[in-house]
Symmetry: D2
Subunit: 428 residues, 4 copies
């Protein structure tokens, strides 16, 4: 059996909820996955430019993580550990401190939340509100932070918001960098917060992504982010960087805000944190704001030790020195060059994003969907993002080799030209 | 190193958030886990009457699940699959249909949510609201449904609610079965909903646990549950059974409501669903209410294939016939007998719960805490529950053998007598 | 022109909003009003058992108030005074202190709110929340407190709540005295608040009517009210008595809770406070809870000096000694006697209410509506109340003479017998 | 007795709530009021540039209204009429239709709400939400719409919002015309609403003042208002003009938006609507949106017939022809000329407002307060507005004669020069 969606007799059609989505666009049965490659039940191979929505930054089934997890399993290591102390958790924390936090001078504590990004966002919002005694949170247009009620209030996408079927509260929306034409959106935020009659209640936090993954690969400049950070500080609000999709190397460095001079009070992480695609999420929190009492925010699966095992390997393998960062930079350059060339062939198209979080804005969700469908037929898994699903988004594993990456881009280029190329447009 | 909490030099004290909790009561470093036994770094063994808060119903590192997961890993099976079709997911769904749903005549669809119980509850509430066009949800005193904003609104515990630091909305609270003295709480609900001027807005759903795990092992009778189900139906509200803690055999059968004649519209499951303690959660939803559009409720880790692998094994191994159910019944009988005898030695104490979800109500959180601390010293991991943490809760793996179970109970009995025995009380 | 509703050519049909209501039941053009009598454009007289929903307790156009208002007007006294000091306000406050507050040992301050009952309720809720730092308010089934968003959250009636078209927040609903069969509703409240896992957030206030005017003339006993007051105090919640409809003598004494041993922290008053039916509302607030800053709750018309003039006269004329109270008691006895006799002729009917806030519960909104319609035809203006509009409510001016009252009751009796009498029922 | 605030022995200090405000700035006992003049208990006269915050546009105790009200009173006309038909209501409606609505081609219906502006705003918001099935409302920075919970959510002032002590919901805040530097705020609104991922839920209504009275006399241009109206229409949102302070001639014509080509779906009116300062409020609503059922939004005092009497006289006396409009224009010219001259003497000061809703922005709340205090000493009642109370606001009766107006301006000019004049600044 190859396709799920088309065959009404499958168990998926019969028993899986209508909420399923990716399997509709990519109706194969995926039996194997390695690095940047997926293989279906008929042996067909696909290059993976989706990478679990950036939760597989190190590719599928990294051999070192696989080995470590196999050993953990074989030795009857704790799998499910609530928040008990285990060697796997200890090792992760030590690596995280040594390789990530200490070199950056970050004294943040690590809060293990329920193992979803949304849960980390929920925890971060609660922390900010408890720490400040305020309820309002500033979030931005096109931001995506999850779909549980607290996180969803901060998520901007109307389709997802509608799913709540209740009004969403305690969030004030401001335009993201560059989202409102020539308006200086940082200035606007500053102006609004400086006015005691602006009608915007004093914020507990400003919640921001440095690159909006779901929102269309919108990039905030370091300067804009520093200004936002300064405005937050001036008004007694905590700065929460949601680095769930942009973190773990996706934009070129471990944190997407590395080197920007930004001092985040809280950082949410998930997706590629475990390295292996296993569920894991944390909130990094400055000691001064580590205000939860024991289990005040809890969750059964906050001690997913399998994920801790692979997460520890990921840190040691990829972040012990600067080699991986250089490798990402090379691949990012390759991607940006090729994508720019592709975009140049489409009237009005442009490249968006940063690092290996890049895409081509086609200006049309229909066109972008057609491109992705054609890519899939040709062996490339790739998806769209953006308010109108108008951006074809390349989220290849950061570990992809140049050749595979190039082949994926070849497929993409052909599909773009087929559906949106200048010649085609002229012909119509 | 053995203890985390007492040693300030550990990475846990230095870098883990204050929100950590179990590790404070059980400050060991747990290096290995098998069946009902945990082993710490010094080789000390503990009987596990906590079992990951009922997420390890089949014990730690079940060998069959372990083998299957190891094979999946070795073959580079998909680990992280978003909601793509995979053999592991297919196998789980087929087993779930064949062994669980079909025999019960349940035509429910399976919605894979983010892999936490809270996420499943959030999804279920959203579904009920979307399906009915109403916003209000009836939830009960002492109920626990998670701590993300939507689920937390339904959770009753004041400590957890306070963590939100915002008012929680769209939930009406009603007293649970037996929670208000002699009041017939089902009658009360019926009376309130029948009155158009009761001030209770028409509910989208009634959300209920059959046994309240966190709330103190309060048991609702089958009759009460049927009446609640009938009231929900009469008023056009969906019935959501939260079977996250009570399900997967904990109360004696797969669903905690098996054989009660209850037709739940939505069922939330998590904890022991994966069998191995890996993060996994689903909502079972009747086709008529399967109203989400594609990805309207989404989440990166909703395709945790490792969990699907072990979940499939768990179903085939334990639920293909009635043997496991019989075994649970035996152990439940052992437990109830011993716990009754223990309670009989404490003035005012009583046994609460159902199946292997049992405990002793000591009437005092301090006494219960002392008992658990003494147990831990003697090699038994056990925790409290209840509004005042006054119930010592036995959540042994369902697979525990009679002898190990008996040894755990011996430890418990000694601790109870030490801290709460009749003689002790008389002496004071 | 006599009727508005039936003639589509009237300005009312053409230009007044569909929200108009009483004029649909009583489609006359009322040109004159004196005491307990209304006169329409064709000279027809009606006995008024509606009395502006208890805002005309002293009857229409009381001659002494009229004289005082005429003099104020003639002398160019301030009409609209914001919250500036004026002799009319001074005189009202002095009378209110001397005749009402001081004799009862009440040290409450008077907050002049916007001149509607709803505005007073909104202010009282805000005060309680600010004073306690809590958000939740306990309100009761069948309670009515107004239809602006804050007050409406406390109002129980589903029709009115639906008008908000948004979920209403920050209120927990509990069953009112006697509203839940044999349940001891005070006990239930105590039980719920004593349980830290009840899911009911600690309340800022308990808001209660002593007799529910709109809710169907449900009467809370003094003992029940004292218990509610005690529970509120035990849990740090303020007690707000909403005396808007039941106050100003309606139940037999100035406050409806006089002599009950109840120490209300906040009392809301409106309706008959001005004596003349002019818009005026206040919150009485204990000094300890007088926490608003200047104009923190404001409103243009909070200084309606015409109302202050007549309110002052009303206090001096009716409350300087016990004569009026005696007179109300006599009339209440007349009413209760006759209504009991009327109810006795209808199977299942009963008298409800207290003082001159009385009615007959017919058990059917349709029957009650028919009775009121027939009364109107015969020259009696009378309305229904209750969750099902099943109670015919007598709210005659407290000043009505025995003879007029008797004639009104004659009309009512005939209508009741016509539509609901035992003979009629037997015949069907 | 002259002053209230300074004398602690007064009844006001003893019994009136701390929420009182104007009486703190103007601590006189006002015994008489006529036209633009107030007289205190010692015979001292004050020119009234406050005019009941624009609720006395026709001055105090207009003789024609006084006469009509006196006659109504003498004839025992209905004072309090719920929403029953009365000649006073009929006459008002007929005048309103003939003189106001019909000449403008407005087919709006008149909804009589509780007699406060806040109540009218609450009703308008409910109507918009019911009519559209949406919950969100767009409101603007510096807007003021009242302090009851629903209206307060739309009010921008932080001090008033804080009084709620609960988070305020269901309103999205956007910057008002000119409030965000060079940002084209209409463009910004359009951009935000056009983006389905803006995070701004589709609005039921856009609620706007044409001139922000409390917010600092900020003026929206006709073009901006037309654009806002167009944006609302494009997105299926109703346009609500809050004309409570700016209406009834204050800006030069009956509605503040007359002649602007704006087609408001709902208009809220109160303040000067009764003409005499008596409590009265209405919502004008297009027939298509007249969606309330009978009494779905109700209120005891929605039939204040004394107000209807004076309101009817006001319409016939001032709006039967263009004379009054011309007179306002003359006085507005006088005011603007003098205020411009005054502002010219203060570095950085400027004139704000439109028609006879004018003021001088001093750039400092302290300076503005000093000016008002000095004015009061010299016999002029005048107040501030703005986010920082930095604007001295002239709200003289529209009927004020040139000479009295000039004297008031003389006092103001002297006070401004004393506290903020260029010489003074230079000297410091």
């Amino acid at each position: 059996m190859n396709t799920g969606e088309t065959d009404e007799h499958t168990i998926f059609a019969r028993r899986e909820s209508n909420a399923r989505s990716y399997c509709r666009s990519f109706p194969a049965m995926f039996v194997q996955a390695l690095g940047a490659t997926l293989t279906d039940g008929e042996g067909r191979r696909y290059i993976d430019f989706l990478a679990g929505c950036s939760s597989l930054n190190y590719g599928h089934n990294d051999p070192d993580m696989k080995r470590a997890l196999g050993e953990h399993l074989a030795s009857d290591g704790v799998a499910m550990g609530l928040d008990l102390h285990t060697p796997a958790k200890e090792a992760f924390l030590e690596s995280f401190e040594r390789l990530i936090l200490s070199p950056r001078g970050m004294d943040h504590r690590v809060m293990f939340t329920g193992p979803t990004g949304a849960n980390a966002v929920e925890a971060a919002l609660k922390i900010a509100r408890k720490a400040t005694g305020r309820t309002n949170v500033i979030a931005f247009t096109n931001g995506f932070h999850g779909v549980t009620a607290g996180a969803l209030a901060a998520t901007a996408n109307g389709y997802h918001r509608g799913g709540a079927s209740v009004p969403l509260s305690h969030v004030t929306r401001m335009p993201y960098a560059g989202s409102a034409g020539s308006v200086d959106t940082a200035d606007l935020l500053a102006t609004m917060l400086a006015n005691p009659s602006s009608g915007i209640d004093r914020p507990a936090a400003v919640l921001v992504e440095t690159v909006q993954g779901e929102g269309g690969l919108n990039v905030a400049s370091a300067e804009w982010l520093r200004r936002i950070a300064g405005i937050a500080r001036d008004h007694g609000a905590l700065l929460i960087i949601d680095d769930i999709q942009a973190g773990c190397g996706r934009t070129g460095s471990f944190f997407s805000f590395d080197g920007m001079g930004i001092d985040a009070d809280l950082v949410t992480m998930a997706k590629s944190l475990s390295g292996f695609g296993l569920p894991m999420a944390v909130v990094l929190v400055k000691p001064a704001y580590d205000v939860f009492g024991p289990a005040e925010h809890n969750g059964t699966f906050r001690g997913n030790n399998h994920a801790f095992v692979t997460a520890g390997v990921a840190l040691e393998k990829f972040w012990a020195n600067g080699a991986f960062k250089e490798r990402i930079a090379e691949r990012a350059e390759q991607l940006r060059g090729r994508l720019s060339a592709i975009a140049a062939q489409v009237p009005g198209a442009s490249v968006k994003g940063r690092g290996m979080m890049l895409g081509v804005d086609l200006g049309s969700g229909d066109v972008a969907a057609d491109i992705c469908a054609t890519c899939f037929e040709k062996g490339l898994v790739i998806e769209t993002s953006g308010a109108f699903d108008e951006v074809v988004k390349v989220l290849a594993p950061l570990t992809i080799d140049a050749e595979t990456c190039g082949r994926g881009l070849d497929i993409l280029e052909a599909a773009v030209i087929e559906h949106a190329g200048a010649n085609r447009q002229a012909a119509e």
